[in-house]
C-alpha cells in the first residue's frame, strides 16, 4: 500500500479508535493518539526520501497525492510538533473528561494537515482543508465554554476563507477543466487563465484567514486561547502554517514565477497585491503586538503574539525575494518551535496552578524551573535576540526588507518587534518572576512527559541559533520547488545580497566566553556565607516591607505605554466586526418580518406574485 495513503489512513482510523477507546476508559485515548502519531511519524521519516505519488479518481474527479520538497518542509513541522504535542498531551489532559472527542479531533487535524500538504489537486486540498477546519473548531469549542464568543467567529471566518478558496477552485476548474495543481501552474505559465488575478486573490483570502492576517484575524485570539494547550501548540504552530503553505504557493509559484512578468497588467496587479499583503502583514504584526501586551491572560497574550509572528511570515512571502522567502520559511519553522514550546509551557502552568491569568499567578520560577527555562529560551527566540534562532529569522527578514527597499515596512516591523519585548517581559514576569505568593507555594514542576517535549524544542532553538543551516537545508530544497534557482545557504553564516554577513558561530562563541567569565567571577567571588532570600525579603528604599504588604505588581502592567499609544487602541477591529454583525442581524430580523403570520397576507402574496410574474415574465420569455 502507498505510504501516503497509509499515513492518512493511520491518522483517520487512529481518530476513530481514540474516540472508541474513550468508551472503555478515559485514559486510553491519549495513548492511542501518541501511538498513532508515533506510527505516522516513523512511517513518514522512513519513507520520505523516496519518490511518492498516488492518484485515484472519485466521482469523476482525479485526485493526486505526492511528496515534494516543499511538502516535506511543512511535514517536518507537522510531525515534529505533532509527536511532541501528543507526548505532552498524555499527562496534560490527565484529569480532563471527554478525552475521546479531543483526541479524535487532535488526530484528525494532524492527519488532515498532512493531507493538505500532500494534495496535488484542489479537491483533496479543499477536503483536507475543511476537515482541518472543523476538527480544530471542535477542539476550540471542546470545553463547551463561551461557544458563541469563541467558536462561531472561528467557524464563520474560516467559512469565509474556505468559500473564497472554493470559488477560486471551481473557477479554475471551469477554465482549465481539471483540478490538478500542476495543471494550474502550467496554465498560469501559459497565461491560459483569464481571471487569474481574481482567482489568486480569492485563494489568498482563503489562506489569509488561517494565517490570521488582518483583518481576517479576529477569530484567532479567542480560538487559540480557548483550546487545551497541548493542541494550541499544534494549532498555532502547525495549523496556522497551512495558510503560510498556501500563500507560499500563490505568492511565489504563481505571482513570482508565472513567467508572466512581461505582461504589464499582470505584473502590476500581482505586485500590487503582494505589496498590499506585505503591508497587511506589517500592520497585523504591529497591531497584534499592541494587543498582546495589554493581555492579562498568558494564553491570550501568546495568541496575539502568534498573530503578530504570522504577520512577519506573510511579509516575507509577500516580498518574495530569495532572502525574504527564506526568512519567512525559517520564521515559520521557528515560530512553530518556540510558539509550540511556549504554549506547552503555559499549559504546564495551567495544569499545575489551574489558571493562566497572570494577575493571579506570580513567582513560579523556583517552583517550575524547567518550565521557566523553556519559556525563557522560547521568549528570547521569539523576541529575536541573539544568539537564539529567532534572531536568524528576524535578521534575514530585516535584511530582505532593507535590500528590497521596503524601508517604511521595516520600521513597522521593527516597531512591532521592539514592542514585542514588552509582552515577552510581561509573560516571563507575569508567570515566573515577581513575588512568590503563598497560594502557589504548593505548586510543583510539571511531570517529565510534559517537560521533555518542551525541553527538546528549547534545545532545538539553542542549536539552530548557532547552526541555522540545519533548518536551511530543507528550506532551500523547498524553495527550489517553489521556483527559486540555486538557493545558497551556509551552516552558520548569514548573508544578504549586498554581501554583508553575520557569523553566528563567532557570535555565540563570544557570548559564551564572556558569559562564562562573568559567571565564574560572580559565582565564586565571596561565595561563602551567601544566603538565598525570599522575594519578601527586600528593601524598598531602605524600608522593610510589612508582613502583609502587597508587593505584587501585575495589574496595568504597561499602563504608561497604553496611555502613550491610546489612539492605536481606540478602534478595535473585533468591535467593528461585531457591530457589523449585529447590524446585519437586525437587518435580517427585519427581513423575516415579511412572514407576518397572517394567513391572508400569504394569500395576498400569492396573488400579487402571480400578477407580477404575469406582467414581468410576459416580457421576458
Amino acid at each position: 500500500m502507498n505510504t501516503l495513503a497509509l499515513i492518512i489512513l493511520i491518522f483517520f482510523s487512529g481518530a476513530t479508535l481514540a474516540y472508541l477507546s474513550s468508551l472503555i476508559s478515559n485514559k486510553l485515548p491519549g495513548w492511542v493518539a501518541l501511538l498513532t502519531t508515533m506510527t505516522g511519524t516513523v512511517l513518514f521519516y522512513m519513507s520520505f526520501q523516496n519518490e511518492q505519488a498516488l492518484s485515484f479518481s472519485i466521482i469523476g474527479l482525479n485526485l493526486e497525492w505526492a511528496l515534494d520538497n516543499y511538502t516535506i518542509l511543512f511535514a517536518h513541522i507537522i510531525f515534529g510538533l505533532g509527536i511532541l504535542a501528543s507526548l505532552y498531551s498524555v499527562q496534560y489532559m490527565q484529569n480532563k473528561s471527554q478525552q475521546g472527542s479531543f483526541y479524535a479531533n487532535f488526530l484528525l487535524s494532524i492527519g488532515s494537515m498532512f493531507g493538505i500538504i500532500i494534495s496535488k489537486d484542489f479537491i483533496s486540498f479543499f477536503i483536507f482543508w475543511e476537515i482541518m477546519t472543523w476538527s480544530s473548531f471542535l477542539i476550540v469549542v471542546w470545553n463547551g465554554i463561551g461557544f458563541r464568543k469563541n467558536g462561531i467567529w472561528y467557524m464563520a471566518m474560516s467559512a469565509i476563507g474556505a468559500y473564497a478558496m472554493l470559488t477560486a477552485i471551481v473557477l479554475i476548474n471551469s477554465e482549465i477543466g481539471t483540478y490538478s495543481l500542476q495543471a494550474f501552474f502550467n496554465a498560469v505559465q501559459e497565461n491560459a487563465i483569464d481571471n487569474l488575478m481574481l482567482v489568486s486573490i480569492l485563494l489568498l483570502i482563503g489562506f489569509a484567514v488561517k494565517a490570521a492576517l488582518m483583518p481576517l484575524h479576529i477569530w484567532a485570539p479567542r480560538a487559540y486561547s480557548n483550546t487545551p494547550a497541548s493542541y494550541t501548540s499544534v494549532f498555532s504552530g502547525a495549523l496556522s502554517k497551512m495558510g503560510v503553505f498556501g500563500m507560499g504557493l500563490v505568492l511565489i509559484r504563481v505571482f513570482r514565477f508565472s513567467g508572466l512578468q512581461d505582461n504589464f497588467d499582470y505584473a502590476l496587479v500581482s505586485q500590487f497585491t503582494s505589496h498590499v499583503l506585505a503591508w497587511l502583514g506589517g500592520i497585523t504584526a504591529a497591531i497584534a503586538t499592541l494587543y498582546a501586551l495589554v493581555q492579562k491572560d498568558a494564553k491570550k497574550l501568546l495568541a496575539y503574539s502568534s498573530i503578530a509572528q504570522l504577520g512577519y511570515i506573510v511579509i516575507g512571502l509577500a516580498i518574495g525575494t530569495k532572502l525574504a522567502v527564506m526568512s519567512a520559511l525559517f520564521l515559520a519553522i521557528m515560530h512553530a518551535v518556540f510558539k509550540g514550546a511556549l504554549f506547552m509551557a503555559v499549559g504546564a502552568v495551567e495544569r499545575q496552578v489551574g489558571t493562566t491569568d497572570m494577575t493571579k499567578i506570580s513567582g513560579l520560577i523556583r517552583r517550575m524551573p524547567w518550565t521557566f527555562f523553556v519559556t525563557l529560551v522560547s521568549i528570547i527566540a521569539l523576541a529575536g535576540v541573539p544568539p537564539l534562532s529567532g534572531f536568524v529569522g528576524k535578521w534575514m527578514l530585516y535584511e530582505a526588507l532593507i535590500t528590497n527597499g521596503n524601508f517604511f515596512l521595516v520600521v513597522v516591523v521593527f516597531f512591532s518587534s521592539t514592542a514585542a519585548f514588552l509582552y515577552s517581559y510581561r509573560i516571563l514576569f507575569g508567570l515566573f518572576l515577581g513575588q512568590e505568593e503563598d497560594d502557589t507555594a504548593h505548586v510543583k514542576e510539571a511531570p517529565a512527559t510534559m517537560v521533555i517535549p518542551m525541553v527538546i524544542l528549547a534545545l532545538f532553538l539553542i542549536v539552530t541559533g548557532t547552526y541555522p543551516g540545519i533548518v536551511f537545508e530543507p528550506i532551500a530544497h523547498g524553495m527550489e520547488y517553489l521556483g527559486f534557482t540555486d538557493v545558497t545557504w551556509n551552516m552558520t553564516v548569514l548573508s544578504n545580497v549586498w554581501g554583508d554577513s553575520v557569523n553566528l558561530q563567532y557570535v555565540s562563541t563570544t557570548i559564551g566566553v564572556a558569559f562564562m567569565l562573568a559567571l565564574i567571577f560572580l559565582t565564586f567571588k565571596g561565595r561563602k556565607g551567601t544566603r538565598g532570600v525570599s522575594t519578601k525579603d527586600i528593601s524598598t528604599s531602605g524600608e522593610i516591607p510589612l508582613e502583609h504588604e502587597n508587593l505584587t505588581f501585575q495589574l496595568d502592567f504597561f499602563k504608561p505605554f497604553e496611555r502613550a499609544a491610546a489612539p492605536l487602541y481606540k478602534r478595535s477591529i473585533t468591535k467593528i466586526y461585531e457591530d457589523v454583525a449585529n447590524g446585519l442581524e437586525a437587518l435580517f430580523d427585519f427581513t423575516r418580518k415579511i412572514y407576518t403570520g397572517n394567513g391572508q397576507t400569504y394569500a395576498i402574496y400569492v396573488v400579487a406574485f402571480l400578477v407580477t410574474l404575469l406582467i414581468v415574465v410576459q416580457n421576458m420569455l
Partner: protein, 307 residues
Amino acid sequence: MEGIGLKILGALLTTIMAFAVGMTYGGITRKLTARVQNRVGPTIWQNFIDLVKLQSKKTNIYHGVMGHFAPMWIITAAMTVLMFIPVLHPNSTWYSTWFPNLTFHGDLIFLLYMMVFGSLGMALGAGQTGNPNSAIGVTRGLSQMVGFEIPFVLALVALMVQYKTTSIQDIMAIQDQSGVWMMFSNPFSFLAALFASLGMFRYSPFDIVGAPAELASGPVSEFGGKYLGVMMTGGSIFAFIKLTLYVDLFMGGAYSIPELLIKTFALYMVPVFYGWVSPRYRTEQAIRYFWGWPTALGILGVIIAVW
C-alpha cells in the same frame, strides 16, 4: 595561534579602555551636573571609587538564579557588542596594531538586537527580586525603549538604504571617500538619531526609568555589592559603545584614541546638556515625545535618502 592570541589581547585592551572611558565620562557628568546645580559634587573619579567600594563589599544576598544572571547578561552583552563594533577606523594604524577587534563588518541589525540582550537580562533579574519598584522601572524602561527605537531605526534605515550596506565599516568607508560626515550629508537622520540618543542615555528628562528619587534607582534597587559593581561596569561599557556607534555612523569614525575621545565626549554632552535644562517626563510623555518630531525627522531622512 599567534593571531588568536593577539586578538584576545586586543579584545581585552578594548574592553578595558571602553570601561575606563565609560566610567570617566560618568564621573565627569556627575561633576559637571553638580557644578551646574551649584553644588561641589564628587570628583570625576567617583565612579571608580564607587566600583571599588562595591566590589570590596561582601554580598550576602542571593536573589535566585535570574538575579544572579542579570549582571552577567549585561556584561556579556556589553562585551559582545564591543567585540563587533569598530572602535577605531579600520584604516587607522592604531586599529591594526592595538584594536584588531573581533569585528567582521559590524552588521547594524545585529548590533541593534544585541544591545537589547543586556536590558533583557537586567529586566529578568530585576523581576526575580520581587521588588515591585524594580518591575515598575523595567516596564517604564521597556516602554521608553519602544519610543526611542523608532527614530533611531528610521535614521539607521535611511543610512542603510541610501548607501546600500548594513555594515558599519562600509558606512565609515563611504564617509571617508566622500569626505563628508553623515551628520552633514544626512542631517535629518542624524538629528533623529540624536534625539533617540537622549532616551538611550536616560538622562533627564527621560530618567523616569531609574527615577532616582522615588523608585530607589528602579530596576537595580535590589542589587548591591558585586552584582551592582558588575552592572556598573557593563553600563559604562555600554555608554562607550553607544557613543562609538554614533561616532562611527555619523562622524566618520576615529583614527586615533584622542580623536575618538573628543568626538564621543562632544556627543555625550548632548544628552547631558539637554538633561540639565529639562524636567522629568512621565513615561507616556516620553514615548509621545519620541513619536513626535524625532520620528518625523527620521521619516524625512528616509525620504531624502531614497530620493
